[in-house]
């Protein structure tokens, strides 16, 4: 320990004596690690598991149904009303939910102001809540499929009612009243796995959750895909028609459940085929949350491209630091030689170098966090869409410190070895 303190003191003295050199070296290394860290922050957040304790038990259901298309085309993620209703009827899954996204304008029916708030609606079924583990702060889910009852999210509750228990209050949507039966706690789901199919995986969780039948009866807008000759006159007219707009998720806790569900879906496809529909070469598909997110390519490809470039930049910064350090050790070889001459072993010189590299690494770590934060802000300015996907958490900070220490050590390793190997006789001459 005594030697450690001595080496630390020695390293401090070295750093101060050659401050311009070390400032240059540490800051270039910190810029490299900082850019790399900012990129990792984005990619880490994009590729995180939103529901780790059960992500392998929740599955997206994609059916082999889509008439008039290439037989070998990819399965589409949406299905018709009737398909979704059939999936809801299964008694295999622990929980089943179907949903679509809509948007409404709404206000507290008792508010004096006539200003309406824009609200993102998740038109869904009761199974949504136990499947996604949406946390209730007050109340619970609606009990009837056609009820004019809704659940609201925390942010929306704050915005419209100023927070608190809003169960029993009423919202006006399109001139009609809707009773609030449940209020969620703050719910941060990243990515929003159930909404990943439409480039919205990094949006906030929804404002309003409503029964699907109620949403359709009230004509709350849908994004529809339709390749048939059916004329669909309104949202509610989709029942029994060939409009594709619903997505389904199931929770299957055992392998047996999964096999049974696959069988259930296959039977359904065969049934549709028997009724004259075309099937494609692909099977009905069950993808768990992480497979589903990978399939939806939620990690922005541009960020992957930038990751490649920032890794190269980090390499350049390490090369730069290493070559600077080599120069530094070369110029300090007389001092090293002197220490060797008065009895320091090669091991001691190396140990002292390691202590110095740790000190450099620590300075670098502090600067790395600063530069990392700065580059994250720059990235968010250039890509406003990243605002939702760049969390700085304790893991990331530790990761930044770790990378800074390791890169400093790597940069120092070869110059240090060279320095230790300097033959004593050469120096003494």
């Amino acid at each position: 320990m005594e030697m450690f303190n001595y080496y630390l003191k020695l390293s401090f003295r070295n750093l101060i004596r050659n401050r311009l050199f070390f400032i240059l070296m540490i800051s270039t290394l910190a810029v490299g690690v900082g850019v790399f860290l900012a990129n990792i922050a984005i990619i880490k957040s994009m590729s995180s598991d939103p529901i780790p304790y059960k992500s392998d038990r929740i599955f997206n259901v994609s059916l082999n149904i889509w008439s008039l298309d290439n037989p070998d085309a990819e399965l589409i993620e949406v299905m018709r009303y009737n398909d979704a209703m059939h999936i809801l009827k299964n008694d295999i899954a622990t929980h089943t939910m179907v949903h679509y996204q809509s948007k409404v304008y709404t206000r507290d029916i008792n508010a004096k102001s006539l200003t309406r708030h824009q609200a993102i609606v998740r038109a869904t079924t009761q199974g949504f809540f136990p499947l996604t583990d949406a946390p209730f702060a007050f109340g619970g889910v609606w009990q009837q499929d056609y009820a004019k009852q809704i659940v609201i999210g925390d942010t929306f509750n704050q915005q419209v009612f100023g927070g608190g228990n809003s169960v029993g209050k009423t919202l006006e949507i399109g001139g009609k009243p809707f009773e609030i039966v449940g209020v969620l706690k703050p719910w941060n789901l990243k990515p929003v796995f159930y909404n990943a199919a439409f480039d919205q995986a990094f949006n906030s969780t929804d404002d309003i959750y409503a029964p699907i039948e109620t949403a359709m009866d009230n004509e709350w807008a849908i994004d529809l895909r339709n390749m048939s000759t059916d004329r669909i006159h309104s949202v509610s007219d989709n029942r029994g028609k060939n409009g594709f707009f619903l997505q389904a998720f199931v929770q299957l806790d055992t392998l047996e459940q999964k096999q049974l569900m696959q069988q259930y879906l296959d039977n359904y496809s065969q049934h549709r085929k028997a009724q004259g529909e075309y099937l494609r070469a692909n099977d009905n598909r069950l993808l768990d949350v992480n497979e589903w997110l990978t399939h939806q390519k939620v990690v922005d490809e541009r960020m992957l491209a930038f990751a490649l470039a920032s890794s190269l930049f980090l390499a350049v910064c390490i090369f730069n630091a290493s070559s600077l350090l080599l120069a530094r050790y070369h110029s300090a070889r007389f001092e090293t030689g002197l220490r060797r001459a008065v009895g320091a072993r090669m091991k001691d010189v190396f140990y002292q170098g390691v202590v110095e590299s740790m000190l450099i690494g620590s300075c670098c770590a502090v600067l790395t966090l600063l530069f990392g934060w700065l580059f994250l802000q720059i990235s968010m300015t250039l890509f406003p869409a990243l605002k939702q996907t760049s969390d700085i958490d304790i893991t990331l900070i530790l990761m930044g410190i770790g990378i800074a220490l390791v890169t400093s050590f790597i940069s120092m390793l070869y110059p240090l070895i060279r320095s230790c190997r300097t033959s004593l006789s050469t120096t003494l001459k």
């Binding site: 240059l24 270039t28 810029v31 490299g32 850019v35 008039l68 290439n70 809509s102 948007k103 409404v104 304008y105 006539l114 309406r116 824009q118 949507i173 399109g174 001139g175 009609k176 004509e219 709350w220 807008a221 994004d223 339709n226 390749m227 004329r231 006159h233 949202v235 490809e301 541009r302 992957l304 491209a305 930038f306 490649l308 470039a309 920032s310 190269l312 930049f313 390499a315 350049v316 910064c317 090369f319 730069n320 290493s322 070559s323 600077l324 080599l326 120069a327 070369h330 110029s331 720059i378 990235s379 250039l382 890509f383 406003p384 869409a385 070869y414 060279r418």
Partner: protein, 412 residues
């Protein structure tokens, strides 16, 4: 100049030399690919789209009140909006649209000739043809010319039939299609007067860019009908055509003008078509800027390295340089010697740089769309690295010339 001696000197510092060559070559590789990304974004933004982008303002809006579920009410408000906008000083014309050009997704449908065989497979590009519904001036308002047939008239308006007839399947609308779409639907006969699954072709419009992200000929596919789509839960769009120089002035008045007709609307966005185009490519521009920032940082690091390398070398070789001076080498010979070393390193880096440039381009093409590098871009990157390296070497080289020949005698 003794090249052999230079090589020998560099060989003595294998590690530092290799690192610097690698650094320089990576910088070349990144710079070339950055320029490719930037150039492709600039090209996308500056490519003529075939309609009057500079003269147009777009408005995206949505009703917030349930009263708009009454389509008659909705339509009357839309008509009042258009009339009031048209009366603003500087406005040439204004029209409503169900969707706008330059977008992803949207209202698309399959297009085929009415007599297209039932068992034939429809080409993929005809499966998602953007369908635009506007007033009779919809195309003219955008600045798109009709090259064959006629424009749409009041008689072509299907709004009333759409919202009153029980069986909408019976409506046969008259439509205008773009020339590339006409050729795709009717490859062997003139399209004018022909019936499609979406109505009868009464006019053909000059091609203009509608879906910029599409890669094939369907970039310019579009169908135009005379119909006021009035669905309360979906976004509505207005395009306002203004006199040159009055864009900002009109843009500033639009929100208030619309809300003065009826306030229960959410004006989601008012932006010029040029801004819309810029926003459309903002992600590409963002990536190009990130790469640009990284390239700049890389050049800075490279300059630091070149400086340090030359400086280190000079310090290490003080004695030898002193001897040279003593043996008659002039200051400029010494300067040239230090510079030559840097140029030699640059030469090495430019050779390795070909590999890093191509390697990085291939790696990037796995994740994003990127064009191939060209010899010109490569030469440009080599030139930049060469110039910045030479500048960084200048100070150490200049200091070298100050080494006095006396050094040689001192250290011997």
């Amino acid at each position: 100049m003794n090249i052999k001696a230079l090589f020998k000197a560099l060989r003595l510092r294998k590690f530092a030399t290799t690192l610097l060559i690698l650094q320089l070559s990576l910088t070349i590789g990144l710079m070339v690919n950055t320029v490719i990304l930037t150039a492709s974004t600039i090209e996308k933004l500056n490519k003529p789209l075939g309609f009057d982008v500079e003269q147009l303002i777009t408005v995206d809006l949505m009703p917030t009140s349930g009263a708009y579920r009454d389509t008659d009410y909705y339509q009357s408000i839309t008509q009042q909006d258009i009339a009031k906008i048209s009366a603003i000083d500087g406005v040439i014309s204004a029209a409503h649209y169900n969707q706008l050009p330059i977008q992803r997704g949207g209202w698309n449908g399959n297009m085929q000739a009415a007599d297209f065989p039932e068992d034939a497979v429809l080409p993929v590009e005809l499966r998602y043809v953007p369908q635009f519904y506007s007033s009779k001036i919809g195309l003219e308002n955008l600045g798109v010319e009709i090259i064959e047939g006629r424009t749409l008239t009041d008689a072509d308006d299907i709004t009333k039939d759409f919202y009153t007839l029980q069986d909408r399947g019976k409506i046969e609308q008259n439509i205008i299609i773009t020339q590339s779409l006409a050729k795709a639907i009717f490859p062997n006969r003139p399209a004018l007067g022909e019936l499609t699954n979406n109505g009868r072709v009464v006019g053909i419009a000059r091609d203009f860019t509608i879906s910029p992200t599409r890669k094939g000929i369907d970039k310019t596919f579009g169908l135009f009908g005379n119909f006021m789509y009035s669905q309360a839960d979906y976004q509505q769009h207005y395009v306002v055509r203004v006199e040159p120089g009055k864009l900002a002035q009109v843009q500033a008045q639009l929100s208030d003008t619309i809300l003065s007709v009826q306030a229960e609307r959410d004006i989601i966005r008012v932006q010029s078509m040029a801004e819309r185009l810029k926003n459309f490519y903002s992600q590409d521009a963002g990536l190009a800027s990130l790469f640009g920032m990284l390239s700049l940082l890389m050049i800075v690091v490279t300059v630091v390295s070149s400086f340090a390398h030359a400086h280190f070398h000079v310090t290490q070789q003080r004695k030898f340089i002193g001897i040279r001076r003593a043996l008659g080498a002039r200051k400029k010979d010494i300067m040239l010697y230090v510079f030559s070393e840097n140029w030699l390193l640059n030469l090495g880096a430019s050779i390795v740089g070909i590999a890093t440039m191509i390697g990085l381009n291939i790696a990037l093409s796995q994740v994003i769309t990127i064009e191939k590098p060209t010899a010109l871009l490569y030469a440009l990157a080599v030139f930049v690295v060469f110039v910045s390296g030479s500048l960084a070497t200048w100070l150490p080289a200049y200091k070298t010339t100050k080494i006095s020949p006396v050094i040689a005698t001192k250290t011997l």
